[in-house]
């Protein structure tokens, strides 16, 4: 993984000092609250319903065991002993104290971490494929490019006060696990006979006005990546709307101009930057790539007979293997997912002790690294197959072996009204009620893959627009209601879900989901997934089942 050099370290250290000064001036009454709000947001600090919330950046989701241990320490000493994984591969603390945030940042800086630009109207943490570097369907490792973009976007002097927040995602695989089509900028990496090129998408997004991003540039050569991004950001910074925050995202600008005209404007701007000092050098590309080398894999057999024996007499292991373990590009290795979706625990929450267990297991089984996924789970990217059973046993003891990855109960869920001051409705209790309704694992496995996404408001942090079933909290005359939509996908076949009809009370949601699932079980052909059946039969049968009196 990327390791800071003296320059990177100096940048985060200077940022800690800068933020400490801002906090002190705010506490001394020298910095007005309205100005400090913008400054603290650029450092990930929100003032929430009950307490501040600090969002810590995890660039493209990658963490070392050392960083995990530091996070565990921070949650124990500065918070309440748990952390929350977000839908943008970051980590959140729900109970920090404003006065102590500079100390938290200093702790983070000691392990090459920070909270820079995790909020505010600036370029946010860059996200990527959680299986980058190990996926069988990958064209090229996307992490060096994500790191190059991270550095470029960090403290960018021109783009720190954009009309609205700005999110960039990078992917390089056939299956798009980074949801690049619903980002402000999506970067798709291709490689033709050893020559890298990029396809750039712009103007996608969820929120109040969900849009699938159009492609605005093809065959972009690697050295021009940053100058091209700079051109997009400049056009957006200059012409994006600032009069209405709901119309301020780049998607509104791209749509208003039309993608063709927007692309022309970017092209014209790029002409002035192309080949200039911002053009990437080969030595920089190679330097960053040098941090993402192939780990020292052992030469192992791809087939492990012990696994066959264990499967035969252990259904728990066998379910976990089937659902949470994914194929690896290296023979004899697997990708292992830890689904943080145990019923009774808010989706994506992980305790300090679990973080430490994960750190130890990462050291023992996966070269000391772990990834945070945008589905709010954790991934060990490099586990020898011969160690799968031992790892599973350790995960069971730590309550980290829930075998529901990608299934109905692997719910993506924002913190909602329990924590967030923007939310119209709670989301965590809805997730839990659904998980309790569907507590039969065999039933869930038979049902197959089904994404449920829950957002507590239109800001769509739970990405409800791209859930196979999306649930949105709405406010109806002061009461919490839930609008249900179906048919969304955030992958390479990105589709926005369609609203079923009038919204429901919270206690009705589990039975609504049950009715939708019943339609699927009745209509499905062969091993069709929920989404495939829906696409074949259309929305009507689901509507009828849910609204029939």
């Amino acid at each position: 993984m990327y390791v800071y050099d003296e320059y990177d370290q100096k940048m985060v250290d200077e940022r800690v000092a800068q933020y400490r000064d801002q906090t002190n001036r705010f506490l001394a009454g020298e910095l007005p609250a309205e100005e400090f709000q913008h400054l603290r947001l650029r450092n990930g600090l929100y003032i929430q319903r009950l307490a501040p919330m600090l969002r810590i950046a995890v660039p493209y989701g990658l963490l070392s065991s050392k960083q995990l241990r530091k996070l565990a320490y921070i949650t124990r000493h500065f918070d309440r002993g748990y952390a929350h994984l977000t839908t943008r591969q970051n980590v959140q603390l729900n109970w920090p104290i404003l006065e102590e945030v500079p100390d938290i940042l200093e702790e983070l800086a000691s392990v090459e971490m920070h909270a820079i630009q995790t909020s505010g109207n600036c370029i946010r943490n860059v996200t990527s494929d959680q299986y980058a570097g190990v996926a069988q369907d990958e064209i090229e490792d996307s992490r060096p490019w994500a790191e190059i973009i991270r550095q470029w976007s960090t403290f960018h002097p021109e783009f720190n006060w954009l009309p609205r927040k700005f999110k960039i995602a990078v992917t390089s695989a056939t299956q798009d696990r980074a949801a690049v089509q619903v980002h402000d900028i999506g970067v798709r990496i291709f490689n033709n006979n050893g020559v890298t090129s990029f396809e750039i998408l712009a103007g996608g997004g969820l929120g109040r006005t969900p849009v699938i991003a159009p492609v605005i540039k093809q065959n972009l050569e690697p050295e021009h990546l940053l100058t091209y991004l700079e051109a997009i950001l400049r056009v957006y910074n200059r012409y994006g709307r600032r009069d209405n925050k709901y119309k301020a995202r780049i998607k509104i600008l791209v749509r208003a101009m039309t993608p063709e005209v927007f692309a022309e404007k970017v092209e014209a701007e790029w002409e002035t930057l192309k080949g200039g000092t911002g053009t990437l050098t080969n030595s920089e590309i190679e330097r960053v790539k040098g941090h993402f080398t192939i780990p020292p894999y052992e030469a192992l057999d791809n087939h492990v007979t012990e696994i066959d024996d264990r499967i035969a007499d252990n259904s728990g292991f066998s379910n976990w293997l089937k659902q949470n373990v994914k194929p690896h590009k290296q023979a004899g290795y697997s990708i292992v997912n830890l689904a943080l979706k145990q019923t009774g625990v808010p989706p994506g929450d992980v305790t300090d002790e679990q973080l430490e267990v994960v750190a130890d297991l990462a050291d023992e089984f996966s070269f000391g690294e772990v990834r945070v996924t945008h589905e709010q789970n954790l991934t060990f990217a490099d586990v020898p197959k011969k160690s799968l059973f031992s790892l599973w046993q350790a995960l069971v003891s730590a309550e980290l072996a829930t075998p529901n990855l990608g299934l109905l109960t692997d719910i993506i869920c924002c913190p909602g009204g329990d924590y967030c001051s923007l939310a119209n409705a709670k989301s965590i209790p809805v997730a839990e009620a659904i998980q309790r309704q569907f507590d039969d694992l065999d039933y869930l496995h038979d049902l197959g893959e089904l994404d449920i996404n829950i957002s507590g408001c239109m800001n769509a942090c739970g990405h409800h627009h791209v859930g196979n079933i999306g649930i949105l909290g709405v406010d109806k005359k002061g009461a919490e209601f839930y609008q249900v939509s179906i048919g969304g996908s955030g992958y390479e076949d990105a589709t926005l879900a369609k609203i079923l009809g009038p919204s429901f009370a919270q206690d009705e949601i589990p039975s609504v989901i049950q009715k939708l699932v019943n339609v699927h079980l009745e209509k499905r052909e062969g091993t069709e997934r929920f989404l495939e059946t829906y696409r074949r039969v259309g929305i009507d049968p689901y509507k009828q089942a849910v609204y029939a009196s």
């Binding site: 940048m11 783009f159 006060w161 910074n237 911002g278």
Partner: protein, 143 residues
């Protein structure tokens, strides 16, 4: 006390009220200074930059970042050399970003502490991106 900083020193304003962009463009005899608001086209003065001695770019609110782009265009593309002044809602915590976009003069908003402002101008030791008078960090790394 004066709220104006020019080239890292507290200064007094010798320019007075500046002509607006509209006035500037309408004038037969071009003034040597101009005030440009955040929503105005910086492109319209491209051909006149070599004779200007002061360009003031306005920040209607500290959270409005458009003039940072105007500054970068002036310095890096139009190669404007003379005084580039930030005016309007100019707060000391943003001076280092403004500097990296090429501003060298700052008319601070009321109640901003000009002494602290001078400190803030030092900013970060490095810049990942290309900035005014600075190569991006990656070029320094490879040298």
């Amino acid at each position: 006390m004066s709220q104006l900083i020019i080239d890292l020193e507290i200064a007094t304003d010798a320019t007075g009220a500046l002509p607006t962009l509209e006035e500037f463009l309408a004038a037969d005899q071009k003034p040597t200074a101009v005030f440009i608001d955040a929503d105005e086209d910086i492109e319209s003065i491209k051909e006149f930059t070599s004779n200007l001695t002061v360009i003031a770019l306005n920040f209607p609110a500290f959270s409005d970042g458009r003039s940072y782009s105007s500054a970068n265009l002036l310095r890096r593309e139009y190669e404007y050399q003379a005084e580039l002044r930030a005016v309007g809602d100019v707060r000391i915590d943003q001076l280092e970003q403004m500097t990296r976009c090429g501003f060298n003069a700052f008319q601070l908003a009321d109640e901003q502490n000009v002494e602290q402002g001078l400190e803030k101008l030092k900013g970060f030791s490095f810049s990942y991106q290309p900035a005014f008078n600075r190569e991006p960090l990656f070029r320094k790394r490879s040298s």
